[in-house]
Amino acid sequence: MNPKLFLKFVSVSFQKQVTYRFDCFVGIVNGFLYVFIFTSLWKALYSQFDTTVHNGYTLTAIVTYAVMVMAVRISFTMDDSIIYRKVMDGSIAIELVRPTSFFFMNLAENVGNSLFHTMARTAPIVIISIFLFDVSIPFEVIRFLLFVVSCIVGYILVSMMNFIVGLFAFWFIEIFPFLLFKYAFYTFFSGGIVPIDFFPEFLKPLVKLLPFQYMLYFPTTILIGRASLAEAQSIIMAQLIWIVIMGVICSFMWGAGKKKLIIQGG
């Protein structure tokens, strides 16, 4: 895929988002509310016990996690019904007659979307939260760089997950239930609500087998300093292995889905 073309489409998708300014304002309020609710819950929970450390998290650490995992999650906002809508209205036909990869065009569209959310929502929410809540992040340049790399790889994993679920539309056309399932799995098993360390023991082996933890949980642990720099590197390695696995699934699904595709509306 031509990088120039990729960036062009990122910018088109970004500009499209700018037109929905009211959505963005609501998005900031909504995101901040989440942060407020989760941090308040943790504070209330921690105050119930005499011990100050639970599953390796002090109150400061868990509040920092809650704020930062939310920040990453908001930055990872993408429209997961893009493929579904393109199949529904048949406009996917137009994209398929272009000499471009459907996967990468879809990724470019997502990236434009996410860049906008990062600038317009994540940034203000993080800044406000740092002042309002007890947030503590270790300041290390290398750590921050590793976090960014881990986020990018995690982001591609999320995009692949949405691509795979979106492709179900080639078979079923109506995929709303799948999207709901995916949302539930993604937010919970990625550590989007509670860090994986707090999961009950019987769930932990299952979580290890799933790619979700590499999307939000691990990048966040790198940022807040729960993972050492050496661990961060092996996290990124594991993420890359998942990219390969998910990539194979994507291309397999794409190959099989093409044969099933029906263009709606002639």
Binding site: N2, K4, L5, K8, F9, V12, Q15, K16, T19, G90, S91, I92, A93, I94, L96, V97, R98, P99, T100, S101, K258, K259, K260, L261, I262, I263, G265, G266
Partner: protein
């Protein structure tokens, strides 16, 4: 190498659609949750044809005959169930991207431009997508602007264009990379007479000047008569005619149409052997009769002797009426033409 002259080669091409139906009403929908009724629809049923470079081919058929499905297989959107197709020597459903770089496609019902962007930016995106150099792009746009008059539209957002303006832009968009083969799926749908005319002229020109191979599907038989030397007629997914448009007339014209203007409009025409009234409008009536079994002099004589005639003229049936007859199975197509594919 004779092969090089072939733009499109289609052999035994078929496409089945697996349609699952949900029942009617709430209970039907509920049942469909557990057991879906599956239905296989054969949209295209083993068709063969070859199109040479520089041909202008009309691809017609009723709604649901399989025209669009064929186009979508040749453009790499759909994967055929069986059979094979080659466009510019490329198998479109195996090498979609490679094929896409060498074809232009216009779907009359949807736009390939970006709804929210000004026309100019859409063209610029297409330039990058198709990897056209800036200088090639400029000269191509200049050429397209001359015939399609695009300059005045360049600054407008696509969603504000009228249908005719949008179609001009869409056709130009399909030609940004100057493809050797152009697929047009109902490009004149919903356009007024003038807009149709200008698009027709443009298509004839690029076919003539650039040697662009054009495959046109349309419901407008005027498009076909004006543009397409060759006609492929599809019915229920099968080819029922493949040959010259002119030959179609000679082969299937067993009827002639008489346009008669009477002195007064009260005349009831009946009892003339072989003649049926197909249309009436005041004093004017259009009659058709079987050309093979009844002589034209005989028919006119009979009419003239019974009624007072003001004016009379003999018309050849249009391609449209011939095709309508084919759709209605009033004409048998046992041996369509010499050019029909042989197995």
């Amino acid at each position: 190498m004779q092969q090089n002259n072939i733009a499109i080669k289609v052999k035994g091409l078929s496409k089945d659609f697996d349609i699952s139906e949900s029942g009617k009403g709430f209970s039907g929908k509920l049942k469909a949750l557990f057991r879906r009724k599956r239905k296989i629809i054969t949209a295209v049923d083993g068709i063969d044809f070859e199109i040479k470079h520089g041909e202008f081919v009309g691809y017609v058929g009723e709604n649901g005959a399989g025209k669009s499905t064929t186009i979508k297989m040749l453009t790499g959107i759909l994967v055929p169930t069986s059979g094979s197709a080659e466009v510019n020597g490329i198998i479109p459903y195996k090498e979609r991207k490679k094929n896409a770089a060498k074809i232009g496609v216009v779907f009359g019902q949807r736009t390939q431009l970006w709804w929210d962007l000004p026309v100019r930016e859409s063209f610029d995106l297409l330039r990058v997508i198709f990897r056209v150099s800036q200088s090639d792009f400029n000269s191509q746009m200049k050429k397209l602007d001359q015939v399609l008059d695009l300059n005045s539209l360049m600054g407008m957002p696509v969603r504000k264009l009228s249908l005719g303006q949008r179609m001009r832009c869409d056709i130009a968009a399909s030609l940004v990379h100057n493809p050797p083969v152009l697929f047009l799926d109902e490009p004149t749908i919903g356009l007024d007479v003038l807009a149709k005319e200008s698009i027709r002229n443009f298509l004839a020109e690029i076919n003539r000047e650039e040697g662009t191979t054009i495959i046109l599907t349309t419901h407008d038989m005027n498009d076909i008569e004006h543009l397409c030397k060759r006609l492929i007629i599809l019915e229920d997914g099968k080819i029922v005619y493949d040959g010259e448009t002119e030959l179609l007339k000679q082969k299937f014209v067993h009827e002639k149409v008489l346009e008669v203007e009477f002195h007064d409009d009260g005349n009831v025409i009946h009892g003339i052997p072989g003649v049926t009234v197909i249309r009436e409008q005041g004093c004017k009536k259009w009659l058709t009769f079987d050309n093979d079994n009844y002589g034209i002099g005989e028919v006119i004589g009979t009419i003239a002797s019974r009624y007072k005639i003001k004016d009379i003229s003999v018309n050849e049936p249009s391609v449209e009426s011939i095709i309508r007859n084919i759709y209605n199975n009033r004409v048998t197509l046992a041996t369509p033409s010499e050019e029909s594919p042989t197995k």
